[in-house]
């Protein structure tokens, strides 16, 4: 149990990532570069720091503590030279107002299991469990596999939230201990997929078909939910939703338990600011509820199993 992973966030009693009330643990590092990414702090596999303007009282203790001389206080606030910053985190503790935070701390399987066990009553009473998300958890398959195995030994339901892009051998390591796969299909047209996310979608679709056929040594199939982010101006088109629906109907059949359409939300602009960058979708309006409703209808028609399709996050 010496495996560690870099974790950057924990959502407790989440209702968004699988059935029941769940703890979602977010692992750092991702192979995709989605234009709309809601977790920009998840992309780099290294620890980083970020700075919250509202909390800063200008005490300058961080500047003195930085061994790389990466920090300067300017009229616009703290400037972080990201070329120099190694993510060592030595500036974090000296800050009296906790304006600097370290994103990404190493957790052992044992530590994370203890965190999960503390909430097992909620899981048991709600039919929930744990979800590993990211970033892309399958970039750290050894950890995921060991953690899920430990959870299952305690009777805790395990869910993997994945973009589907990691090599198949990583999935082979993880799937035997996975009760549910939350699998992202974002865009059916591979050229557009490449443009939006930086990678083509063929490897993702191939992995999906392998997951469909995967059985654990005990002969059990992990449950399978597909998730599609509906990003206005990108993926939220009738054509895309219809093609995904047809693909799922043709290829997954009854192996598909649920298909979730996740409406775009704009709650992550502040994260980009704290990382010193700007979110390309900052001014993007939310998904129009009427468009959302019509996409849901088209998805239901294309899949042919209306009860299996849901939309979340509409306001």
């Amino acid at each position: 149990m010496k495996e560690t992973a870099l974790l950057f966030a924990i959502h407790r009693l989440s209702t968004d990532d699988g059935p029941g009330l769940r703890n979602t643990f977010f692992l750092k590092g991702c192979a995709l570069r989605c234009t709309w990414c809601h977790n920009p702090e998840s992309i780099s596999p290294q620890p980083e720091i970020w700075w919250t303007e509202r909390k800063c009282i200008g005490a300058r203790d961080c500047i003195a503590a930085c061994p790389e001389e990466a920090l300067t206080l300017t009229a616009q606030g703290l400037s972080i030279d990201r070329e120099r910053c190694t993510g060592c985190g030595k500036c974090v503790d000296p800050c009296p107002s906790k304006a600097i935070e370290l994103i990404g701390r190493p957790w052992t399987v044992e530590q994370l299991l203890r965190e999960a066990l503390a909430e097992r009553l909620f899981f048991k009473n709600s039919g929930g469990g744990v979800t590993l998300s990211g970033g892309e958890p399958c970039l750290q398959p050894g950890f995921v596999s060991a953690f899920f195995r430990a959870c299952q030994a305690e009777g805790i339901h395990t869910a993997l939230d994945t973009c589907g892009f990691p090599p198949w051998k990583n999935f082979e390591q993880v799937l035997p201990h996975t009760d549910l796969v939350l699998y992202d299909i974002k865009e059916m047209n591979s050229e557009r997929h490449q443009r939006f996310t930086g990678v083509p979608n063929e490897p993702i679709l191939e992995n999906l078909l392998r997951i469909r056929d995967f059985r654990t040594p005990l002969g059990r199939y992990p449950a399978l939910w597909i998730r599609t982010p509906l990003i206005p101006g990108y993926t939220a088109t009738a054509g895309n939703v219809t093609s995904i629906g047809r693909f799922l109907a043709e290829n997954l059949g009854d192996r598909l338990e649920r298909w979730e359409l996740c409406a775009f939300n704009n709650l992550c602009g502040a994260k980009y600011a704290k990382l010193g960058s700007k979110w390309p979708l900052e001014n993007q309006p939310l998904l129009d509820p009427d468009l959302g409703a019509s996409l849901l209808e088209q998805a239901r028609q294309a899949l042919g199993r209306p009860e299996a399709v849901q939309i979340t996050g509409l306001v």
Partner: protein
């Protein structure tokens, strides 16, 4: 078994009419409750008045604060018209039950019968007795009150218990009167003049109430004669018959039972602020079952009648819990009552008492109702802990099984106790401040030496409170006996001793709300860490920084603020919270009142946290002077960074059977709930888990921040006027709340996710 609701039952046009009238009264500020001033909210005593909230008359405060539409009576804006004719003003005021009862009888028989069209359950009142009769303790009591106030404690002794209405439902007013007369003759025969005198007073009370109920029968009959619409005439005739039947006789039908309860509540609330009224499903079950068996009523009619009771005023009632054999007490009437609330919604204080064997469908429905209505109703409660806490305190099994949620955060064995709940307070900040000064003077070498000084100061404050309360108790049954309540209690009418008196009911503890436990424990933990362990600051520097409200000491304040805090499942911070809570509990439990019972702490205080900030000054937990203090045992606003479950785990490190309540306040955004699916399916596992962990009470609000902000800007929009929130242990329409309460409310952590 009949069909149980899973969605909101619709209101009939008649119920809609009554509901519109209810909302209109609240919005027009006809139900507002006032207290003297901010000092009263913090210490529960300001020295100005012994009464809770006289709106008119000589004891009404000029500098009053509106604490929300939490008042049973309907305000006319006018003083009581017959003040000068009150017997005590005509013939002289005396501190005796007989003198009090003469006033009460005059008062209630000179209160108008109020009947509105369409109502099948009637009864409203406009004035409380403390607006017409002087309510004042002798100077010696006041002197002790000021002494306690100086040391950080205070309180009034007034109502806030729970009668056992089954006594009255069984006997009726005629039966209660016969019992009183028989006992009066007994005491006269054996020469106990004190008890005989009390029971003569009780006769006056019963005769007054009976006359008051008859006045409703007469009024309804008059209205019937004048009414042209046949349907409305039929309702008046029915009301006249019901009131006439129960003026003397015991109620025979569900309709009569509910009307009897409504009149009891009015008669009782006329003499004071009011009580909880017990386990509604258990009280009504025999009447409901008999009516159904005889074909006198349909299930929907029964639901509408209970709904009307809720629309008159949403008092503290409870459902669920266990029965005498400790099996699940949930019955068909529980469903009817909860569906009645689900139907009428809005302002209400109903609670549902969970236990390990509760009917899972009913529990899920209760969780769904609070999730959908979002206004803290029903309050979710842990019956197992209620009962455990009563047994631990020494209640006999025969009293403890029947425990009922009775008010903000407290619970009673109906009719078996007068434990002075909810309006005594110990403000823990003051002993801490004195301890800091003393430790500087004595040059305390380490934290344990400092702690000893702190313990001593808490003891000092508790002694002052004990002396004040004991002086009050000596006078209370003479100055302001609670005689209507005493009719539905086990003991008073047999012994001729008021429920507020010693040797009257089985249990008479003194309950004390402890204010600012999280602030004090966070302060002490920061002092332990930064002053004594790390030696970064001296205690004198802490005292000076706090005295100057951290002026020019922002870096230091941030260090104190960012030392781990209670509510984040942090071992050290939580251990200090337990140490602080346990210490004040042990101190209070070591004090005795003159009734022979100990003081009991409640880790809750209903509203003082909002106003206490400037009165108490800044605190070493990094809190600035203008900030509120923590609400009950809930972590300070914005200090629980680790999510709701971490807060719940911190909470449940305390053994709540040792305390008299400590509610968890949860404010959720509506977006927490997926659009599809029952809200109960998420609230239920959340609440069940909390109770299995040892939590005692959840006040759950589901509300949109944006909507609350909009309501503060535009309070006149109809959709804003209907917003009800569970403020602390009680509910209020948001738009009628004092601005400061509104601001504090929207500042609370609002969870998009848990």
């Amino acid at each position: 078994m009949s069909h149980h609701a899973s969605t909101r039952p619709p209101m009939s046009p008649r119920i809609q009419t009554i509901n519109r009238r209810r909302v209109a009264l609240n919005i027009a500020h006809k139900r507002d409750l006032y207290c003297d001033n901010a000092e009263f909210l913090v210490y529960h005593w300001s020295g100005k008045s012994e009464a809770f909230a006289p709106a008119t008359g000589e004891q009404a405060s000029s500098s009053r604060i509106n604490i929300g539409d939490h008042n049973c009576r309907v305000d006319t804006g006018m003083p009581y018209p017959f003040v000068d004719e009150m017997p005590s003003r005509q013939k002289g005021l005396a501190n005796t039950a007989e003198n009090w009862a003469q006033d009460y009888r005059f008062f209630i028989t000179h209160s108008p019968a109020v009947i509105d069209p369409c109502e099948r359950i009637v009864g409203d009142f406009h004035w409380q007795l403390d607006e017409a009769r002087t309510f004042r303790y002798p100077q010696e009591v006041h002197d002790l009150g000021y002494a306690a106030r100086q040391l950080g404690a205070g309180g009034i002794s007034f109502t806030h218990t729970c009668p056992d209405l089954s006594i009255g439902l069984k006997l009726g007013w005629g039966g209660l009167l016969s019992k009183v007369r028989a006992n009066r003759r007994k005491f006269e025969e054996f020469g106990n003049e004190e008890s005989a005198s009390y029971l003569r007073a009780a006769e006056d009370i019963a005769l007054g109430i009976m006359q008051y109920i008859r006045s409703y029968a007469e009024k309804a009959a008059q209205l019937e004669k004048a009414e042209e619409d046949a349907q409305t005439r039929g309702i008046y005739a029915e009301v006249a018959a019901v009131c006439s039947n129960i003026a003397e006789k015991a109620p025979q039908t569900l309709h009569e039972a509910i009307q009897w309860i409504q009149f009891f509540q009015i008669a009782e609330r006329m003499h004071g602020h009011g009580n909880g009224y017990g386990r509604l499903d258990q009280l009504l079950q025999p009447f409901y079952d008999a009516d159904i068996a005889a074909g006198r009523i349909t299930r929907d009619e029964a639901r509408d009648l209970v709904g009307e009771l809720f629309l008159r005023y949403g008092n503290y009632f409870s459902l669920g819990g266990r029965n005498r054999e400790l099996c699940d007490a949930t019955c068909e009437t529980s469903w009817v009552c909860l569906e009645a609330f689900d139907m009428v919604g809005g302002y209400n204080h109903l609670g549902v008492m969970w236990h390990a064997d509760i009917d899972p469908k009913f529990w899920n429905y209760a969780c769904d109702v609070v999730g959908r209505h979002g206004a803290g109703c029903p309050t979710l409660l842990n019956y197992e802990l209620f009962r455990a806490s009563e047994l631990r305190s020494g209640y006999p099994e025969s009293d403890a099984w029947n425990v009922s949620y009775s008010g903000c955060q407290w619970y009673c064995s109906p009719g078996n106790e007068y434990s002075d709940h909810d309006v005594n307070c110990l403000v823990l900040v003051q002993p801490m401040q004195r301890a800091i000064d003393a430790a500087i003077e004595q040059n305390a070498p380490d934290f344990e030496a400092f702690w000893k000084i702190y313990e001593n100061e808490v003891d000092c404050t508790a002694n002052a409170l004990r002396d004040f309360k004991n002086a009050t108790y000596l006078w209370q049954p003479k100055v302001w006996p609670e005689m209507v309540t005493s009719f539905c209690a086990h003991g008073p009418m047999d012994k001729g001793r008021d429920i507020t008196d010693s040797r009257s009911v089985n249990n008479a503890f003194t309950s004390v709300n402890v204010l600012a436990v999280p602030n004090v424990s966070d302060s002490l933990y920061a002092i332990e860490q930064l002053v004594f362990a790390q030696k970064k600051y001296t205690l004198a520097q802490v005292r000076d920084a706090v005295a100057s409200d951290w002026e020019g000491k922002e870096s230091m304040r941030q260090e104190f603020l960012n030392t781990p805090k209670f509510g984040n499942d942090h071992e050290g911070a939580d251990a200090m919270a337990i140490r602080v809570s346990e210490q004040v509990r042990e101190v209070l439990e070591s004090k005795r009142n003159i009734k022979g019972f100990c003081f009991r702490p409640s880790l809750f205080q209903f509203m003082g946290h909002t106003y206490a900030g400037p009165m108490l000054g800044a605190t070493p937990d990094g809190r600035k002077r203008r900030e509120p203090v923590a609400h009950g045992m809930n972590p300070m606003h914005g200090r629980n960074h680790e999510g709701m479950t971490a807060t719940m785990r911190s909470f449940c490190k305390l053994d709540f059977s040792k305390y008299q309540g400590g509610s968890l306040q949860v404010e959720l955004q509506p977006t927490f709930f997926p659009k599809e699916g029952r809200r109960g399916d998420l609230v239920e596992p959340f609440a069940t888990s909390f109770f299995q962990m040892g939590g005692v009470q959840i006040n759950l609000n589901v509300l949109s921040m944006a909507k609350l902000h909009a309501a503060m800007e535009q309070p006149d929009l109809p959709e804003h006027q209907e917003i009800v929130v569970k403020v602390t242990g009680y509910s209020a329409h948001f738009v009628v709340m004092d601005r400061k309460f509104q601001e504090e409310f929207v500042e609370r952590v609002n969870y998009k996710t848990l």
